[in-house]
């Protein structure tokens, strides 16, 4: 009975103490939510930017991918896209490669990418890379073409050319911004292909605007020795049925594989 008695007093004591402690926590919690900042020990946060850890010790590709749905890998049933396939192929060739981040966003346009590159956390990631993979422009030229294929505006070559010229200036800004953020990285830009080369009405018009875009991009990239353009229009032109996914816009697994093969072949 003596033991029981002491056990009871211990339980009662713990119970009372925990209730008091929890009541304090409860009051503090409610005060904190209703009157933010009035609770002791709280302070105003200060914004701070960390130093970027750049690890140059190993000879490896440190890859950051950025851009639109092609970089994301949309259309690939395995979800790998050309980015992961490139990494895998490099590893198969006994070259070390690491994907730091895939920051691509479905449906992104070149002008949206320009603002996205201003975000601090994107820069943090880009600074650590020595290889930047990039696709952009498909949505600028052909946005909405999947749903309302062959509307009259999309067939109009002048309208498309105007769109291409507008977005090419955004592309230049994108490339300049990446270069500003990272002075030394190799920037690999995957060119556009005409997803409609098997559609009779769209074939010539689409190919001509794609060529115009690719040409302007290539011309701009020539000025920087550390930029590389991977053409895809020639790859896809006669293989569109083999390389295109069910949505008639994005490449499928085989298509991404072909793009990745080209990238690996072109890498120094």
């Amino acid at each position: 009975m003596k033991r029981k008695g002491s056990l009871w007093s211990i339980i009662a004591l713990i119970g009372c103490l925990s209730s008091v402690l929890l009541l304090t926590g409860f009051i503090l919690g409610v005060t904190n939510v209703l009157h933010p900042g009035s609770v002791p020990f709280t302070e105003k946060p200060v914004a701070s930017t960390p130093e970027v850890p750049v690890d140059n010790s190993k000879a490896e590709y440190r890859i950051v991918a950025i851009g639109d749905s092609l970089t994301r890998g949309t259309g690939d049933d395995t979800g790998k896209g050309y980015v992961r396939r490139t990494v895998e192929m490099l590893e198969k060739h006994k070259r070390e490669a690491k994907l730091l981040n895939n920051l691509a966003i479905n449906g992104l346009r070149a002008d949206q990418l320009v603002t996205r590159l201003d975000e601090e956390h994107i820069g943090y990631s880009l600074k650590q890379a020595n290889l930047v993979l990039l696709t952009i422009g498909g949505n600028d030229l052909f946005q909405g073409a999947q749903s309302e294929q062959l509307s009259s505006a999309q067939l109009n070559i002048e309208y498309l050319n105007k769109k291409a010229d507008e977005s090419i200036s955004s592309l230049k800004q994108v490339l300049n911004k990446i270069r500003e953020t990272n002075k030394d990285a190799l920037i690999v830009f995957v060119g556009l292909y005409n997803p409609f080369s098997n559609v009779k009405e769209m074939s010539t018009v689409g190919s001509s605007v794609v060529e115009r875009w690719n040409h302007a991009a290539k011309e701009f990239m020539n000025e920087d020795a550390n930029m590389l353009m991977i053409p895809t229009q020639d790859l896809f032109e006669h293989n569109i049925d083999k390389y295109i996914a069910a949505d008639h816009f994005h490449p499928n697994g085989t298509g991404y594989d072909a793009i990745a093969t080209r990238i690996v072949q072109s890498l120094p």
Partner: protein, 326 residues
Amino acid sequence: MLALIHNETLKVLKKKRFYVILLILVVLIPVFTYAQMKIAQNSREKFDQDWRREITQQIADYQNTLGSDRIPEEWKTMRRIMIQQLQYYLDHDVNPNEPNGVTFTRTFMDNAVTLFIPLLIMAIASDIVSSERSTGTIKMLLTRPVRRWKILMSKWIVLMLFSGIIVLATALLSYLISGAVFGYGGWSFPLFSGFNLSGSDVHVESVHMMPSWLYLLMQCGLIWFSSLVVAALSFMVSVLVRSTAASIVTLMAVLIAGSILYNMASSWPTAKYLFMINLNLTSYLAGSPPPVEGMTLGFSLIVLAVWGVIALLIAFRVFTKQDMLN
């Protein structure tokens, strides 16, 4: 009165349920710790411990789901809020998932508040009266020269004491067990609170920083309040229902229904008056969106308090007036 409380405490301890609760915690927490460790390992491999890059990837992944037409609008709102909060953590160079025992405890308590802790409370509360009736000891108890409300009051006080102990024991055990894996540090690591939500926008003017220990204390306090309401409701059911099994099943069903409803409540705004929807008080602290838009901490506290007080009134009224036949 003190003698009555003494007596009731001994009864609870004698029934060994409290030890079973502690045992459940000791068995279950290592399981969660292990799962958490696997997740941490995975992120270490993929992002070589650079949490900023991990958060950056998380933001990019969330942004991608925003474009999909198949995702319900409420989810998108939630994702937008989370993106803005993660962005805030990045801008202030604070890792929201700093791996240590305190972070684990915080996450575990957040997830335990709606189902796990109420379950533990119920284990004690649901048979505190009904077991006296199923075993027939209620007659012995009531033939003593003590007023009935005093008997019930002593039971309620004991239940409150044990509720506090259970909440604290859960936090303490999860800290001690997970700390063995993640380390015992992190008490002073800064956390943010005070995100102000309106629609899918997050206002950060009132955001302030506090050390983890203070956050944990507030969190446990809020969980304790929810637990007391659950205890009051179980207490009422225990008075009303004769068999312990029936009272456990009734409350379990209500709680599980609540956790299912929680995700659907946004399309049925009246659900915000149900106590189960309001149990998750800690979400107001973290700044995560409430199940029904427009719910605030004050609202939830009032709803919970009303449910709790009514439950206690019914319990006392019935217990003092009822004929004890069997």
